[in-house]
Symmetry: C2
Subunit: 352 residues, 2 copies
DNA sequence: CGCACAATTGAGAGTTATCAATTGCGGTGG
DNA sequence: CCACCGCAATTGATAACTCTCAATTGTGCG
């Protein structure tokens, strides 16, 4: 394997020199910069395999560097480690949220930094090996998918999200691939008049955020949890490593995205030409299909009327009227705020 | 390279034996079947690299075999050669339309069949080599794309399509990747009430039909030419060979499909919540963006009002009223049946 | 118990579809 | 070259549908 190049950005020149020597002794090729702006230049010139950067620096701070790196296609996939002061808890959280892969707190020993660097490289190497190996990549159903994912990302970070929390927002740069371990998530867009349309629903076993990663652009939709969720955050460099080393896995994602594409085309036709009744009926059926697990029995929908309206592409009031009609026709039952489908066949006939 | 396995299906037992011997002498491993049904069984059992089949056979004819092969995911990528009688011009055309890769007319010499077989293998081999080699795969703009494509598919078949001709229809199995060398094509879906919605527009330099190929399923939209077109037909086995041997190329298609996905999400919001005026304005702008080549000057739209209505997701009458409004407001000029955009900025402001 | 917010209902306005009738255009045959 | 046919485009009148705004009712929670 070729010698790894590490870019080290830090304004404390003593620390910079020391750390650089440590890394060089460990066999890495090191290039250095003493401020963020210079760092970016070096990164573009040397295409390092890893960037380690301090946070508080003159001219451009660590966040600025991370932000720029992530916005530059040629640099976006390079793992990024922050050096922070011990007490800056906020710094750490902010850095991780922005997509840094790891952080080291000052002061640190030689072994600490080498550990961090090596574990980063090892992790990518392991993923690559595993993906290239005979590991069965099997996405055919939720159980196999779950198994594959668990196998690949044993030690990856879980994040718990509260209800109605934004997972990622439109126009931001993607840092992670998300895997829904538990919970439900919706993707939505907002029209110029401020109305929301739900353009996708995701449940346990689904991935989210891969379109932006595959397109190598910003998110084009926002996503928000519908209930409290447990998501797996897979750093984007790991995702790219996997995709590039395992063709079968890449094909799985292609299929997912192609399938979503077709679903959207169907919805477009519905939105353009179907009556409100049909659209609402379709939304109910879609929700059942999407969120019914094995417990088919007594499936109820517990979303606000506003959420439902956003899925159907209408206003809350119109949705409510339609639901009332359905209730009077004995197609659904509404108890408190929950909706239960009584006559699924009639609903199906309606949309055809 | 491992020995290639060829499956030979033919009910004329003498011909079967003779041809089999020829192929074996040429170093291929051959398995045989004397009717279509048996042929399919053999194909599933042996996973051949090539299938050669007669057309007129008892139990199941050649078309049936081809059809089944194409519907079976494990077999769908295997090149398929027909053996036809000299005089069956119709057979040949029908076979090629169904996606056969080549045909041989009876009676044929040893060299004829060996030529056909070898050229098939050679072609795939060449594509693979070329794709893996340093050939610059560059899709960034139309000119580079055109160049890349021409380089890869020097001797591929062109097809001329007349205006309003169907290129492929929903629910059929894909046989080709299409590349638009000249002309404009639309993709559309039909609602249950029979109304058409245009879900995609394609012009020179675009690919069509790749979603179904990538998803390994049937087409989920139909496509039709908007004017006379010159399309390049790239057989699906060649497409798969390319995709699998060149990761950069695969990524290009992923980007295309991811991008289309985002476009569709935007359109969904428009269809759900925007007024007719906005939708029509957007359609006009979209058409300009999509179909304006270098000749930006005096760009006119020459589509029927019905086509335009299908793009905007409305009825012909409503579209016409909106266009009349735009005309009265001096936003567009309508001469005969052509539309020219006069005030593009006002249109842009309208949709925002 | 009452507050805050979600759900529902009502009345009326606005937008778009529908159906029917008319006009305009391009090509064709005399 | 012109009348005419067929189809596309346009216009008109009306109906249907959905949205908007305002008011009221219901529900969960502190």
């Amino acid at each position: 394997m070729a010698t790894k190049i590490i870019l080290l950005i830090e304004d404390d020149l003593d620390l910079l020199r020391e750390t650089s020597e440590t890394l060089q002794l460990a066999g890495y090729q090191v290039c250095t910069a003493s401020n963020g702006k210079e760092g970016i230049k070096m990164a573009l010139a040397h295409q390092p395999d890893l960037i380690i950067s301090g946070v508080n620096m003159p001219v451009m701070d660590g966040y600025g560097v991370l932000h720029l790196v992530q916005k530059t296609p040629e640099l976006a996939n390079i793992p990024f480690i922050f050096i922070t002061s011990q007490d800056d808890r906020d710094d750490i959280r902010r850095g991780m949220e922005m997509g840094a892969d790891d952080y080291i707190t000052k002061p640190f020993s030689d072994s600490e930094i080498l550990n961090s660097v090596e574990s980063r490289f090892k992790r990518l190497h392991r993923l690559k090996k595993q993906a290239q190996s005979s590991l069965q990549i099997d996405f055919t159903d939720k159980y196999n998918r779950e198994h594959t994912i668990k196998e690949l990302f044993k030690s990856t970070r879980h994040n718990i999200y509260k209800k109605k929390q934004i997972v990622f927002a439109e126009d931001n740069y993607p840092q992670y691939l998300f895997y829904i371990h538990k919970g439900k998530v919706k993707a939505f867009k907002t029209s110029d008049e401020g109305k929301e349309l739900t353009v996708g629903l995701y449940a346990e076993g689904d991935f989210i955020g891969y379109t932006a990663l595959l397109e190598e652009s910003t998110y084009r939709v926002s996503t928000k949890t519908l209930e409290s969720c447990d998501l797996l955050l897979i750093p984007k460099d790991e995702f790219y490593t996997l995709i590039n080393s395992n063709n079968a896995l890449a094909m799985q994602f292609i299929k997912l995205i192609a399938h979503k594409n077709n679903q959207k085309a169907d919805l477009m036709v519905q939105l353009a030409y179907s009556s409100l009744r049909k659209r609402v009926a379709n939304s109910l059926l879609f929700l059942k299909r999407k969120f019914t697990l094995d417990t088919d029995e007594r499936f109820t929908i517990h979303l606000t009327r506003e959420e439902l309206a956003n899925i159907s592409g209408t206003t809350t009031e119109s949705l409510i009227r339609t639901l009332s009609d359905f209730r009077d026709e004995k197609l659904i039952k509404i108890t408190n705020r929950e909706i239960e489908i009584l006559d699924i066949d009639s609903l199906r006939n309606m949309v055809n």
